[in-house]
């Protein structure tokens, strides 16, 4: 059985249908890159999987559990699926360590010493053990994003959704974040990432999803999708990417 099953998902904002029937099954341990122009619905799809947007029709199942729009089901889902955002969204009033500890203590009711031990382990995993007591605005963008990854990992999710997590970073900081993601992929974490890092997608991902106008336009292993695009839209998209 697939880990994440997305079936005929549709999503409209008012009259504007952003997702027009998406089908996608993600197997455990898969790393999937979702690419496409802005407005193609890729971020919206990711946000639907996490329940940040409610879907208009269709169904999403994560590890066999149906995504329903009530707080209890949503919470159960979010314990399984972590999310990392473009803008990091660290809690500015808490230290890096506090950021990683908070949800463990509040949501999972983990006692403080254990939460702290977990936070130190996770910060070490992203190479920031020494920044435990630093506040977010004392960290660089890349460091903040790594703390955000540690924060999501501390909840021990079975999959991570990454929404353009390097798009807000200075170019020289992108690689440190991608290195962490690469490490996670190697360890077998299931990853679903919206990204503009084509090289990274080619190197690390098991499958690439090209979205166009609210539909999955092409899907396949990166070698095929990048080397042999089947549709003019993807060819154009990749061409634009190369030119840019």
């Amino acid at each position: 059985m697939s880990l994440i099953e997305i079936t005929e998902v549709r999503k409209s904002f008012g009259d504007n249908e952003v997702l027009k029937g998406i089908n996608l099954d993600v197997e455990p341990g898969e790393v999937i890159a979702i690419i496409g122009k802005s407005g193609s619905g890729k971020s919206t799809l990711l946000r639907c999987i996490n329940g940040l947007e409610t879907i208009s029709s269709g169904s999403i199942q994560v590890a066999g559990a149906q995504l329903l729009d009530d707080e209890l089901h949503l919470k159960a889902l979010r314990l399984k699926v972590g999310m990392i955002f473009q803008q990091f969204n660290l809690f500015p009033h808490l230290t890096a360590g506090g950021n990683v500890m908070l949800s463990q203590m509040v949501v999972k009711k983990t006692p403080k010493p254990e939460a702290e031990a977990m936070a130190r382990r996770m910060l070490e995993r992203v190479g920031l053990a020494h920044k435990f007591d630093a506040f977010p605005d004392e960290l660089s963008g890349g460091q903040q994003q790594r703390v955000a990854i540690a924060r999501a990992l501390a909840m021990q999710p079975i999959a991570l959704l990454c929404d353009e997590i390097t798009s807000a970073l200075d170019p020289e900081l992108v690689s440190e974040v991608l290195a962490v993601v690469r490490e996670l992929a190697k360890e077998g974490m299931t990853l679903l990432m919206v990204t503009h890092e084509m090289k990274f997608a080619r190197d690390v991902c098991s499958r690439v999803v090209f979205m166009h106008q609210g539909r999955v336009h092409e899907i396949g292993p990166p070698e095929e999708v990048f080397a042999n695009p089947q549709t003019p839209e993807l060819r154009q998209f990749l061409g634009l990417q190369a030119a840019a």
Binding site: N50, G51, L52, E71, L74, K75, R78, L79, G82, M83, F85, Q87, N89, L90, F91, P92, H93, L102, S103, V106, V107, K108, F135, P136, D137, E138, A148, R151, A152, M155
Partner: protein, 219 residues
């Protein structure tokens, strides 16, 4: 005819000041509690609750406090409910403060970036947990200066309750004037006492604003 010394006047005014202080405290604390509930409704995901709170706030912000006092005092009397002046004054001021505080705090909560809600939601927090551990700690920082500033309005607002016969500082001023025929001295002193209560609050509001801004810059 009895002669009143300035001390006699001042002593009586200061005794009445206790009631001004008590009424201000009750209004502010009661208003905070009711205001917090209103805030919760005002930012609820359910539209009906939001509208309810909005209606309440608009009603109390859109009518003079004096009218609210009259209605609490005389209005309920029409239905045969005998409301003592202190109760009418307390209730009206609590409800009035609640409306303003809820609106001040709503602004502060809405000033917190949407990403904070999304990040905490994606970590599995419920709405109450998000509010308590993520949103309010940040909103509080912004909220303190305007909240302290509003407490000055509450103190000055208590003066209106003299009209329905609650004996606080202003009413005491009128009573003492009637006995002494020294309006200038008496009301001068009344004004000075109000100033002594309000000025430190306004000043501390300004200081807090500066201090919290600095804190914000550091982390």
């Amino acid at each position: 005819m009895t002669e009143f010394t300035t001390w006699d006047i001042l002593r009586n005014l200061l005794l009445a000041t206790r009631w001004t202080l008590l009424l201000s405290l009750v209004s502010f604390i009661g208003g905070s509690v009711v205001g917090l509930c209103l805030l919760w409704l005002r930012i609820s995901p359910r539209a009906a609750l939001r509208r309810l709170a909005k209606g309440y706030i608009e009603l109390f912000q859109g009518t003079p406090l004096l009218m609210q006092l009259f209605i609490a005092f005389f209005g309920l009397g029409l239905f045969g409910i005998d409301v003592p002046a202190w109760l009418a004054a307390g209730v009206a001021l609590v409800l009035w403060s609640a409306a303003f505080l809820a609106e001040i705090w709503r602004g502060c909560v809405e000033a917190i970036a949407k990403g904070q809600w999304e990040a905490s939601a994606s970590l599995g927090m419920g709405r109450l947990q998000q509010m308590r551990y993520v949103i309010l700690p940040q909103a509080l920082k912004i909220a303190i200066p305007p909240t302290v500033g509003f407490s000055v309005q509450v103190i000055k607002g208590t003066a209106l309750t003299s009209i329905i016969g609650f004996v606080e500082l202003s009413k005491a001023g009128t009573i003492v004037t009637n006995a002494t025929f020294q309006p200038f001295t008496v009301y001068g002193l009344v004004a000075l006492i109000y100033f002594a209560l309000c000025w430190p609050l306004s000043k501390s509001s300004q200081i807090l604003e500066r201090k919290l801004n600095v804190a914000h810059r550091n982390h």
